[in-house]
């Protein structure tokens, strides 16, 4: 998501930049386009209006007529205002000095709280914590059961009303407030340092249910209260967020279902209206399609700069640095074999879904970004390579017709698929070789470049990739 929005901005920006001089009519036209782009992306109408006004005022103040590159100037103003809304530093979890650190999840029906609870639990485990999940959605049929299954996938235990009957303060089977209270005491007894409370979905206008979640917050005294919001939400996101904030004093927002093609304007609106950060974002159905949200990077992404930092971070966490570094050197020197490829592919797979990763890369053409890459398809590529002998992997040039049929048969694909893979591999290899050389000479040029903000490095051109 956000991609479509960034596509729109790219178009508007490049038209602005190409102008030598800017009349106010041109600026107005660009602002009108920006307004529509934001509205189409589901940014709240009030937020859009305020945004466009701010940009307009600054453009007037900037005296564009006298500027050398007026188009660039407007782009800069828009980018700055955009970063001001979305930007800021990521939320950093400060653990309670007296554990457990309690996290409360709330939101509308169907926004994805239960799945998020399990993903968050897995995330905390990755941070070296020992979380406990509390199933306090006693409303939706089978919600507790769902959390139990997800919890066991995440390797985190789940407690609900029925597990707390032995306690001195057993909750009634349908009482989420009592369940939360008892579960918290249980977490202390078990020495868990993080407690995540999953609550039932509720409408912001349902006074009784809102009072219930307020009481859950009262007894569990959360260190963090997050509102879980579906990225596909429209104009209503602001009203909902404000209502939950009024009752719960939110610390942030968790955005779900970002893997679709929704443009995610709701996120922008909520951030602007509440002044609370988007803390985490969920980008797929797998438990590991989830991570802390980096607003600054997201702003870059909307403005067309990719989100390389997130990718690198993920890579550093999941991949074996030495092996990868060696592979990269071989790659640049043109000695990268299918054997290396297979090994790296397994490393890369640890980082989550391929589609998720591609969406973070700058310069990846839309067709590739939108292609749905399933793990199963990746497995097929793997199977093809595995059906090759070691010699074939090291020197694909020896693969002739009969070898090709053998490989195809061995991996259950057609020979044309084997061809396609080999061809693709050769082509990328060639591209990377040129790229490595270009980069080495470029680096000599600008030695003293200051650190700080990393912008997208120029990457090889992928446009030939699909044909």
């Amino acid at each position: 998501m956000f991609d479509a929005l960034s596509d729109r901005f790219e178009g508007i920006f490049s038209r602005l930049r190409s102008r030598g001089s800017l009349s106010s009519a041109v600026v107005d036209e660009a602002l009108a386009e920006i307004r529509v782009a934001l509205l189409d992306a589901d940014v709240n109408i009030k937020v859009v209006r305020a945004f466009v006004e701010r940009v307009r005022e600054r453009c007037v103040g900037a005296d564009l007529a006298r500027s050398i590159s007026p188009g660039q100037q407007v782009v800069k103003i828009v980018a700055e205002e955009m970063t001001a809304i979305l930007g800021g530093t990521p939320l950093k979890i400060a653990y309670a000095s007296r554990p457990p650190t309690v996290v409360l999840l709330a939101g509308l029906q169907g926004s994805g709280k239960t799945t998020t609870a399990a993903k968050l639990a897995r995330w905390f485990r990755q941070q070296g914590r020992n979380p406990l999940l509390v199933a306090a959605d006693l409303q939706r049929p089978a919600a507790v059961e769902q959390l139990r299954v997800l919890g066991s996938q995440a390797g985190v235990s789940v407690v609900s009303a029925s597990d707390l009957l032995e306690r001195p303060d057993p909750p009634a089977p349908d009482d989420p407030v009592g369940t939360s209270r008892a579960a918290l005491a249980e977490a202390r007894r078990l020495g868990r340092d993080v407690v995540i409370v999953d609550t039932a979905g509720r409408l912001a206008i349902d006074a009784e249910m809102m009072d219930q979640v307020r009481r859950i917050a009262e007894v569990s005294a959360p260190d963090y209260t997050f509102l879980v919001i579906d990225a596909m939400t429209g104009q209503d996101a602001v009203a909902t967020a404000e209502a939950f904030h009024a009752v719960l004093e939110l610390d942030g927002v968790i955005l779900t279902k970002l893997d679709g093609d929704a443009r995610g304007g709701a996120a922008l609106s909520v951030k602007e209206v509440l002044g609370r950060p988007i803390a985490f974002a969920s980008t797929g159905e797998r438990l590991d399609d989830f991570d802390a949200f980096h607003p600054d990077r997201m702003a870059d992404r909307i403005l067309g700069m990719g989100d390389v930092l997130s990718l690198i971070e993920k890579a550093e966490r999941e991949m074996d640095a030495d092996v990868t570094a060696k592979a990269a050197t071989r790659l640049q020197e043109g000695r990268f074999t299918l054997e290396d490829f297979l090994e790296q592919m397994q490393q890369v797979r640890k980082m989550g879904s391929f589609s998720g990763m591609l969406s973070l890369l700058p310069g990846v053409p839309k067709e590739v970004r939108d292609a749905q890459i399933d793990d199963r398809d990746i497995s097929r590529v793997e199977a093809v390579i595995r059906s090759m002998t070691l010699d074939e992997r090291r020197n694909p040039a020896i693969i002739d017709g009969s070898r090709r049929s053998r490989i195809a048969a061995g991996s259950g694909v057609e020979t044309s698929d084997v061809n396609k893979l080999l061809q693709q591999f050769r082509e990328m290899q060639r591209m990377m070789r040129g790229f490595g050389a270009a980069r080495r000479s470029a680096r000599k040029g600008k030695k003293g470049k200051k650190g700080g903000r990393v912008t997208a490095p120029s990457l090889p051109d992928f446009s030939g990739m699909l044909k």
Binding site: G112, M232, M345, V364
Partner: protein, 372 residues
Amino acid sequence: MAFVILIVVLFVAAVAAGAFVGVRVRSRRARGDLEGTPPGEKAPPTRPPPPAPEPAPEPAGEALGEGPLPVGEAPSLRSRLGKARNLLSGYVGGVLARGTIDASTWDDLEEALLGVDVGVATTDVLLAELRGLVKAERIKDPARLTDVLKERLVDEMRFDDRSLHFEPGVPNVWLFVGVNGVGKTTTIGKIARRQVADERRTVVMAAGDTFRAAAADQLELWAQRVDAEIVRGAEGGDPSAVVFDAVQRAAARGRDLVLADTAGRLHTRINLMEELKKIRRVADRPPAKVSETLLVIDATTGQNGLAQARQFADAAGVTGVVLTKLDGTARGGIVVAIQRDLGLPVKLVGIGEGPEDLIPFDPEEFVEALFS
């Protein structure tokens, strides 16, 4: 170091993505071949099966447990909206208060429409027409203007037939599709209640969501509540096999209706949309017939709803829409475009979580609620 890693990742991603395009064409053909074979055992799962450390629950037979709830009256939309809204508030209220029609009237109307998710494109068209009308008919009174707007909106959503189709004599299958969390399973529960209690039809539910943890349990609880049978499969199994079994059961026992649940899926997942096509094909084979494919859309959905409707219509041959969660503050304005541009009628409206909270869609009532 960071940059080095990036290069490798890029390389792998690029080769995999490029090679994949070819592979996908092939695998699509492979799925097409499944046409003639009975669904079930051999079909590869379209999603990687979730690591399920617990044994899949026993397939349950007929509804068990305590008896079903007594059947109550369906509530009205207005009664549900009452607590949330007061009539003619917000922008439209501002229009009326002004007394004359001027530039701010048009601004207010525009914001009123955009603010309920009607969307820029539809709003532009509506307001252009309205300006023409105001000129031609010399409308001066803002109250008349808002009435004309409402009439226009109702006109955009005209459908002669919003009924749920049923063909006597064979088991009818009604298939429920949509993105994650919109209310598919709940809607099945509510529809089953009406079909059993009012239409006196016998209902078999098919627990076709084999992906989400405990989804079949959720549906089974609904089956118990509303006195329907249910057919379940193994978690992570082939959903079309479950639907196939349910159809067989309905045919063997002479049941009227199979309500088939499916896993929520984002409309951008090509493979999962293919899976949906297959489910539909399997359900539509004699002796059964798919007489409704209902797309469930959540009223909080913004402009993305149009893309959802388009993709699901393409893949599954959607015959109608169920708009859920209209009992909240969201107005569901996106269904104006869905009905107007895609020609898909909204048939039902969800207004709560209980078994009675489902009512027929009434355009006049909906438009009133849009601005209240």
